[in-house]
């Protein structure tokens, strides 16, 4: 089973994404901010094959999480899909480097396609 980490501070969105992952046959875990995500990743028995990342979050935001993940050789290779409602989200993500971007509200069909691309079964 392919594992996905969902990082979003909004409980409803997190729940919605977890429902979708479950329906599509992924094993998904949800966390509420970048720090929780780092803690989870560093303590996990098995690393996820993809990360769905929100940008604007308390404590450690999406940019800071991405920087920390890239700086950690054990985590750097995990593909990231950024999901954001920021009006300038696409431009922000272009600055991050090699990550995928989907704007919120999320086109779920497109998200499933992207996941299949970055984490093929």
């Amino acid at each position: 089973v392919i594992q996905v980490l969902v990082v979003d501070d909004d409980v409803a969105i997190r729940e919605m994404l977890l429902s979708l992952m479950e329906d599509e046959g992924y094993a998904a875990v949800g966390v509420g901010d970048g720090q929780e995500a780092l803690d989870y990743l560093r303590g996990a028995d098995a690393l996820p094959q993809a990360i769905l990342l929100d940008l604007m979050m308390p404590r450690l935001d999406g940019w800071a999480f991405y920087a920390a993940q890239q700086a950690d050789p054990a985590l750097a290779a995990i593909p990231v899909i950024v999901l954001s409602a920021r009006p300038d989200g696409a431009q922000q993500v272009a600055r991050l480097g090699q990550v995928q971007f989907l704007s919120k509200p999320i086109d779920l069909t497109r998200l499933v396609e992207l996941l299949e691309q970055v984490a093929p079964a």
Binding site: D10, M16, D23, P87, K104, P105, I106
Partner: protein
């Protein structure tokens, strides 16, 4: 009156015709050479000399005429009157000249030359003196200590006149113009003590006198009276030339100081008025106003704004570069210390009434200043006369206008004070407008920022709603668990959520466009394909409408942001549907026209009232007839469409007849297709 006409060989017919029109008591004789001249017995009142075609012959005739009739003035008749052509004639001793195309002036010119004799003959000396004494105009005669050689270069002539002219005759009226009671108080004055020949305006006056053949009509001179006040005179004068040298000049002058001052003040009002009228960027404007007032009205000018912590210097302008630095330094000092002149300005800001110091005793002021750098700077600036006028708008003192004059310039008077107060009032209104404008602009910016944040906050719950809806739809598609009506409700949820998302996007877009932050990802694309796709997407949902598409067969290439252009044309198509609630045909055409692509979308809907057509596309504006048709909207859509098109160098035109329909025309630059090899 007897005239002698010298012409070789024969006078021009026009001259003969002019002589025929002379007063009936005029007799004249014609002489073509020296023999004929010598044969004339009676001394003519005036000798008329035809300049003819050559130079030498009439010159010889002129010399002969002078020898034969030394008391008869010679009037030259000439086809040309350029100064450089006339000057040799003046040096040769002609008294005046008349151009052949201006022969109507001949009787007058002859009359003038003959007049002194007539005066001598017919008017008693006493009567003549009385006329001069009674005249309200100044009448004067300057004589040159050293006659002026007319062959000197222009500059040398100006210097010679300025340095050698002495007032030898004048009337009381003239003396009064300089602040004296009687003529004999002024007589003997030298010209350069009355006017500054180095003042460019006076240099121009003397230059005109010389270039115009040592005569001048109604020319301005800028002089000063015994108290040093500037006076402006309007002069008419004529020089007397003897043996090719200027020996004296007679003239009259009228005092136009008041009129010139009126005109200057009007000019100043008009100039400041037009500057201040568009004063939204007020720092620059205030500076421009100060530059206008210096040197026109003052040697230096300060403008201060009243602030919560005292006054703030907005600008300081001095007429001299070196002194400007003193002023800047003083401004920096007094912004921190409560010293002069901040102290004086503070008083005006507090009381709201002007401070008028026509004559300042520098010593007293300095004593009040105390020690320090500010005092030294103040002493070097050396104000001798100043006005501090409050800038008052909406009943509040907004700042102060300071005007100062230094030594060498007459002090301010009451009239200057009134003008300064008026100009200060205008500055205040401009300053106030600028403040209000800035506040309004800041409020708009705050609103746009608020919209951006609010939109993001709206999107978060919408993301969950739409996401859950979509999850349910996907589950239902996988194994049907909902009946048709519930599935329809789920569809409606998704549709309305998307509609809400479009509204949020539009609100965001308009904030972005208003803030100039719309970003595009440009690529070459085929507008024809894009339009066909949009029409095809809309087709299934049409109920009362049909879309007729005519976009030709060839690609219509433009360069632009695909998503943004989709948004534009989708919005225009949805508008066409929305504003034709009873249905009908939507026509969409596209074609290439000149170097642009033109797209037209027309409907058969409610149209737009003619008076409101020009306001469509203004942010938040909606035509008034939408209410009677109960069509909801935000008044943002077309604003966004226009903003996106403008970023593509595109244009939007709207034509409409109320009740018949609307046609929207979009044009965009055509992209140059890349050469394929």
């Amino acid at each position: 009156m007897f005239l002698l006409l010298l012409a070789d060989p024969a006078p021009p017919p026009a001259v003969l015709a002019a002589l025929a029109r002379m007063p009936t008591d005029t007799a004249w004789a014609l002489a073509a050479d020296r023999a004929a001249l010598d044969a004339v017995v009676e001394a003519p009142a005036v000798v008329l000399l035809d300049a003819g075609l050559s130079w030498a012959v009439p010159q010889q005739l002129l010399a002969a005429a002078h020898r034969r009739f030394p008391d008869s003035p010679v009037l030259l008749l000439t086809a040309r009157s350029e100064p450089e052509l006339i000057e040799p004639w003046l040096r040769a001793g002609i008294a005046d000249y008349v151009r052949l195309d201006d022969l109507a002036r001949l009787p007058h010119a002859v009359g003038c030359l003959a007049a002194p004799r007539a005066t001598a003959h017919n008017l008693s000396e006493e009567f003549y003196q009385m006329l001069v004494a009674q005249s309200a105009e100044g009448i004067w005669c300057f004589e040159l200590d050293l006659p002026l050689d007319l062959a000197l270069p222009l500059e040398a002539q100006i210097a010679h006149i300025a340095g050698n002219a002495v007032l030898v005759e004048c009337n009381d009226a003239m003396a009064r113009m300089y602040g004296y009671a009687r003529a004999d108080e002024l007589l003997g004055a030298r010209l350069d003590s009355m006017l500054d020949p180095n003042d460019p305006r006076n240099a121009a006056y003397l230059q005109a006198f010389i270039r115009n053949g040592y005569r001048l009509v109604e020319a301005e001179s800028f002089e000063h009276d015994r108290d040093g006040n500037e006076r402006v005179f309007l002069n008419s004068l004529v020089g007397t030339i003897v043996d090719g040298r200027l020996v004296r000049a007679w003239g009259t002058q009228r005092d136009i100081t008041a009129r010139v001052r009126d005109e200057r003040e009007q000019d100043l009002r008009a100039a400041t008025g037009s500057l201040l009228a568009e004063a939204l960027a007020y720092e620059a404007t205030i500076n421009n106003v100060a530059r206008l007032l210096v040197p026109a009205m003052a040697d230096y000018c300060l403008i201060h704004a009243a602030g919560p912590a005292g006054s703030q210097q907005l600008t300081a302008v001095h007429r001299e570069q070196a002194a400007q630095q003193l002023l800047d330094r003083l401004g920096a000092l007094t912004s921190t210390e409560n010293a002069q002149p901040a102290h004086i300005i503070g008083e005006v800001l507090r009381t709201g009434s002007s401070l008028f110091q026509p004559e300042v005793s520098l010593e007293e002021t300095l004593a009040a200043l105390g020690e320090g750098e500010a005092m030294e700077l103040f002493r070097q600036l050396g104000p001798r006369s100043y006005i501090v006028a409050p800038l008052r708008a909406r009943g509040q003192v907004q700042g102060a206008l300071t005007l100062a004059r230094v030594a060498g310039r007459p002090p301010f008077d009451r009239r200057d004070l009134a003008l300064a107060e008026e100009l200060a009032g205008r500055c205040a209104v401009a300053l106030d407008n600028a403040t209000l404008y800035r506040e309004a602009r800041d409020a708009l910016q705050a609103r746009d920022e608020l919209l951006t944040i609010a939109s993001h906050e709206l999107r978060t719950p919408l993301t969950a709603i739409l996401g859950f809806t979509s999850v349910l739809q996907r589950r239902n598609a996988r194994n049907t668990r909902l009946d048709e009506r519930d599935a329809h409700i789920l569809g409606a949820l998704a549709q309305q959520g998307e509609r809400l998302e479009r509204l949020i996007s539009m609100v965001l877009d308009q904030a972005r466009i208003a803030a100039g932050r719309l970003e595009l990802t440009r690529e070459p694309l085929d507008l024809r394909a894009l339009l066909l796709l949009l029409a095809a997407q809309l087709e299934p949902s049409l109920e009362r409408h049909q879309i007729v598409v005519d976009v030709g067969e060839a690609p219509l290439l433009v360069e632009g942001d695909r998503l943004r252009l989709e948004q534009v044309f989708l919005h225009l198509l949805l508008n066409a549907l929305k504003y034709s609630p009873r249905g009908g045909t939507i026509r969409m055409t596209a074609r290439q026209r000149d170097a642009r692509v033109e797209v037209q979308i027309s409907d058969q809907g409610i149209g737009v009232p003619p008076a409101e057509l020009s306001r469509l596309g203004q942010r938040f504006f909606r035509a008034t007839n939408v209410n009677s048709h109960q069509i909801s909207g935000t008044g943002i859509g077309l604003y966004v469409v226009q903003g996106i098109l403008a970023a593509h160098a595109g244009e939007l035109r709207i034509a409409s007849r109320e009740g018949e329909g609307t046609t929207v025309t979009v044009t965009m630059p055509q992209a140059v297709a890349e050469a394929s090899t």
